[in-house]
Amino acid sequence: MGKPGGRPTPRFVEPVLDLATIEQQEKRKSLQEEITKLEQTLETQTPELDGAQLEWEHLQPAIQSQWKTLEPQEYSSAGGAVLSKAYDDNVSLRVSGPNPESDTYVIVAKSDLPGIKAFQLEVLPDLSQAGLGAGRSKNGEFVLTRFRVEVVKGRQKPETVEFSKAKADFSADGFPVSNAIDENRETGWALMPHAGEAHQAVFENKHPLGAGEELTLIFTLAHESKALYHNIARFRLSVTNIKDSAPAALAPLNVQRILGIPTGKRTAEQKTELSSYYRSIAPFLSSARRRLRQLNKELNDLGIVSTLVMRERPSFDRPSTLLRNRGSFINQGEKVYASVPAVLHPLPEGTMPNRLGLAHWLVDPANPLVARVTVNRTWAQYFGRGLVETTEDFGTKGERPSHPETLDWLATEFIRQRWSMKAIHRLIVSSATYRQSSSVKPALLERDPYNRLLARGPRFRMEAEMVRDVALSASGLLCQTIGGPSVFPYQPPGVWSLPYNNDQWVMSEGGDRYRRGMYTFWRRTAPYPSLMSFDATSGEFCTPKRNRSNTPLQALTTLNDPAFFEAAQVLARKIHSRSVGNAQEKAIYGFRRCTSRKPAPEEIAALLSFYEQERKRFSQDKAAACRLIGEPRSPAEESEVAELAAWTMVSNVLLNMDQTLTKE
């Protein structure tokens, strides 16, 4: 890119990470090889081209003096597109912004050419368009259905110019240029399949216009055919007073300027520029150009994703910033350079203050802090609280560790085991401390209500996302796919209703509806309500630690949220469809799915009596049973709706038990 005929090079190139798949990479490689070859062909001046260019140059003075390019004074799109003068020639108009189904452009220009006999419309390919052509459709095409000129003399009313004839250097089959001046508003002029090149149409008027005074010309270009979005992408207008002028490609202003200089007096640079321009229009190379456009389009259509990334500045560019006194952005203080806090150990000798240097400094054996903070966070995940209570703050305002020696030992073990996360997890979960029972006797509770002394195993309600995950996994609904874009599980209507925003929460289909809670799409101004009830943080602040509350809104969520109740319905089907065993064995199975342990006889009794009681009630009210289970899904289910409904009630209870929601 950035080469002649390519897209303009952006002025600031941000570091980008290319995310092509292996197939895309292969495809791209073969495309690029051919592209490079074609570009070489198009950039190589041959003796053959020299000859053709000379011929072309000879014709130019006549052509250039024949047509007078009009400079647009006012220009607008009726459909909401944006018209602007092209930066390279300042006379052609480029169309950008929204591409409406059918657009109409109005252009006002002035001319003092006496005796105007014809108008020329040049359509030019625009490489910033999706289709890389002179039209804005996906294929780079357009259909011009009406070309109208009105002329205003002085303060008189505009008069429509009558045309006698229209001709073009090329027209697609069935789309002659005369369509643009006929009565039919739907037929038009098109270039298929050559919309990727510059082409010209000439419209001759019946009566010559003007006698040297300044005329105001109002052009209307309409695109009202049945082919939607087929609007012109870039065009230029010119006039002539010479009869029977042929359609002619006018050179850009910079090229016209060079043509005006006698051949011998052109500089080497000008010569290069001229031949480079000629090659871009040489008929001799048109098939190569067409092929190149095709390949570029294929490359574009691969849809390779890229993402902006951060990249280290060159090492000589020492990162610095200005202090902002008291946080005020207008109150500048001294210039400071990247370094590490003076209170901690210095950067290792010979290390640059860059990302690599920071990484070395962080894992420097002289620095125990990173290891301490890291193991403390892992510990907090397992025990519900860290050895240092303030996991986010090891500074002067933080809490002191309850077991400093343990923390230090874990930290040194972490370093010794080469910072292996897996090893530290294993070390913690296989410890005698972690493997203790979480049961607590009143006397111990009295002495140590928060288990700071770790005389028992941890016991705490799981985090918001895991509360959801447990219901999904117990019921078997959980979709275990890892990664990918965020998903949209069930959310009550009306949560997203934001001003200046029409975004809709459209529930994901299939497995994406049952992904882990952490994949839920997050919008800070309207966060997912059931996660928020369980102390998820809104994402507005960096929060290493969440609160852990216990509220009626949480109870309502796990009892009644359709996402959770669906889990109960599915779990019930799982329990019920176990062909072997009686109700007792089924109840045990359901209990184990939720808690990973066998229920005590007392617990089984409670579940069974509830099951029996509900089964009896639902056999009296099968309509309610059907609604409760979300309608029977097979003839077999139809005959057993009462049983299924009773198991659904049981499952709802199982999924709401304290021990299901709690890690113990």
Partner: protein, 486 residues
């Protein structure tokens, strides 16, 4: 219970707030200290689990609850509360340059022309507070309110200004006023949240849920949105096919299972969970009961202009009264649609502003009257206002029939009623254009400090430690506006 006494000796208020960050266990214990000082911890599980248990104020409070009518979008003070004859006189001429030099506006440029209000103003009531004809009902409570004409804020775009007005910070993530109050004072009602939000108008406020978020405070203090369609509180209805009886029986079974497990592991959190499920069950009946206004008298419906079962700002006003009657600490109503730029038929001062007034005027006044006749106004602070005011200059295009005003943070009006504020009183003044405050300016932080003061809280002492420092609603700002205290 020696340990409890030990705690009592140790726990000052400061400790209490500090301990809140340690999670529900400590918080529960702190609640226990306040309410059931010497009772057995095991048997008082309901207070153990309730972080919203009422807590004493720093000093005797004037108000016990707040109803905040948030007029989202920025109502025009110049067409409602702050009459400027000078603007009418100079209608269409340029604003003096020294006023707007170097100023930035959301949309217009400094050379926009002055716009006199197209509406008539009159003195109202015995107090003679001048108000626009657009608010005939609020005019009738002129003698009940304190009108502040000298409000000013830091923000001139909707979302940050709304977030600023609610949290004291333009950046989302700080706790909102209602959350601070729920945290500082708890709630008198055990079956309903302590901080309830009701929405009406064109759409939700621009600031979104951040306007009633708990920020870094524990989540029980977040504003709970009561919805006018389907469930008033999310998930309060039982699943289809499950009767109230079936729900009760399932909760009994659940309770039995939880109790069996409690006997096994002895964690008081289990008792807390049992109580939370019982509260949820009570909420299942109390929330729909609250939302059902059909038993209100005909006279009441006449006063507010409500029809039972029909969602509206007026209906929300009536619900707000029912909520404070039940002891809810903070009720916040949002009505979006006050953004009258005059750039289209949908947002100009002639067609649109009167519509918004019609939607809100009668019910706002009715709320104050109703609270008064029930003896609730003394203890309830009513606040009416938006996130900013509007410019004295016209934003409508020259030559167009539409007129309107741009966002304006430098001056706007709000009113307060009941809960310890003066009656029939007008505070502050703006300049002759209504452009900037010239007497008794009241900043958003000052308003917050004053509201907390009326609720019995010292805004410099209501703190929460987060990320290594103590946070306040008013940060390092805020002065109590003594002049408006009764």
């Amino acid at each position: 219970m020696d340990s409890t006494k030990d705690f009592l000796r140790l726990a000052t208020r400061r400790h209490f707030f500090k301990d809140c960050s340690l999670g529900i266990g400590t918080m529960a214990l702190s609640a226990l200290l306040n309410e059931n000082l010497f009772s057995d911890r095991r048997s008082s599980s309901e207070t153990v689990i309730n972080p919203l248990a009422p807590r004493p104020a720093h000093f005797a409070a004037k108000a016990k609850s707040i109803i905040y009518l948030f007029m989202a979008g920025g109502p025009s003070h110049l067409d409602l509360f702050d009459h400027k004859s000078k603007l009418q006189e100079l209608n269409g001429s340029a604003i003096p340059e020294e006023l707007v030099k170097g100023e930035r506006f959301a949309f217009i440029k400094g050379d926009a022309k002055l716009l006199g209000s197209p509406y008539q103003f009159k003195p109202r009531g015995n107090s003679g507070i001048v108000m626009s004809d657009l608010l005939p009902n609020i005019a009738t409570i002129a003698d009940q309110i304190t009108l502040v004409r000298s409000m000013h804020t830091d923000q001139f775009n909707h979302a940050p200004a709304q977030v600023f007005m609610n949290t004291g910070s333009q950046i989302i993530g700080r706790p909102s006023l209602g959350s601070w109050l729920a945290y500082g004072l708890g709630s008198e009602n055990r079956d309903l949240p302590g901080f309830v939000v009701l929405l009406s108008g064109e759409n939700n406020p621009d600031g979104g849920a951040a306007c009633w978020g708990n920020g870094f405070l524990p989540s029980p203090y977040q504003g709970v949105q009561f919805r006018s369609k389907s469930d008033p509180v999310l998930f309060v209805s039982n699943p289809d096919g499950m009767s109230a009886g079936a729900r009760r029986r399932s909760l009994d079974t659940l309770r039995r299972l939880n109790e069996i497990h409690f006997k096994e592991v002895g964690d008081p959190e289990i008792t807390a969970r049992i109580a939370a499920f019982e509260m949820a069950y009570r909420m299942q009946s109390s929330a729909p009961e609250l939302m059902d206004t059909s038993k209100e008298s005909k006279a009441t419906h006449e006063l507010y202009g409500t029809t039972p079962g029909q969602a509206s700002f007026a209906n929300n006003c009536l619900l707000a009264r029912r909520l404070v009657e039940r002891g809810v600490r903070f009720v916040q109503l949002y009505h979006r649609g006050w953004d009258h730029h005059g750039t289209g038929g949908n947002d100009d001062l002639i067609s649109r502003l009167p519509k918004l007034c019609l939607e809100t005027d009668r019910a706002s006044a009715a709320l104050v009257k109703d609270l008064k006749q029930r003896g609730l106004l003394e203890n309830t602070l009513v606040v009416w206002g938006g996130e900013f005011g509007r410019t004295p200059m016209n934003q409508g295009k020259i030559g167009s029939n539409l007129i309107g005003r741009d966002h304006h943070p430098k001056a706007f009006s709000m009113w307060l009623a009941g809960g310890g504020v003066k009656t029939g009183f007008c505070l502050g003044q703006t300049d002759e254009f209504g452009y900037t405050t010239v007497e008794d300016p009241v900043h958003v932080h000052d308003l917050h400090a004053t509201i907390l003061h009326l609720m019995g809280l010292d805004h410099t002492k209501l703190t929460y430690r987060f990320q290594g420092r103590d946070f306040r609603l008013t940060d390092v700002h805020g002065n109590i506006v003594a002049k408006l205290l009764a």
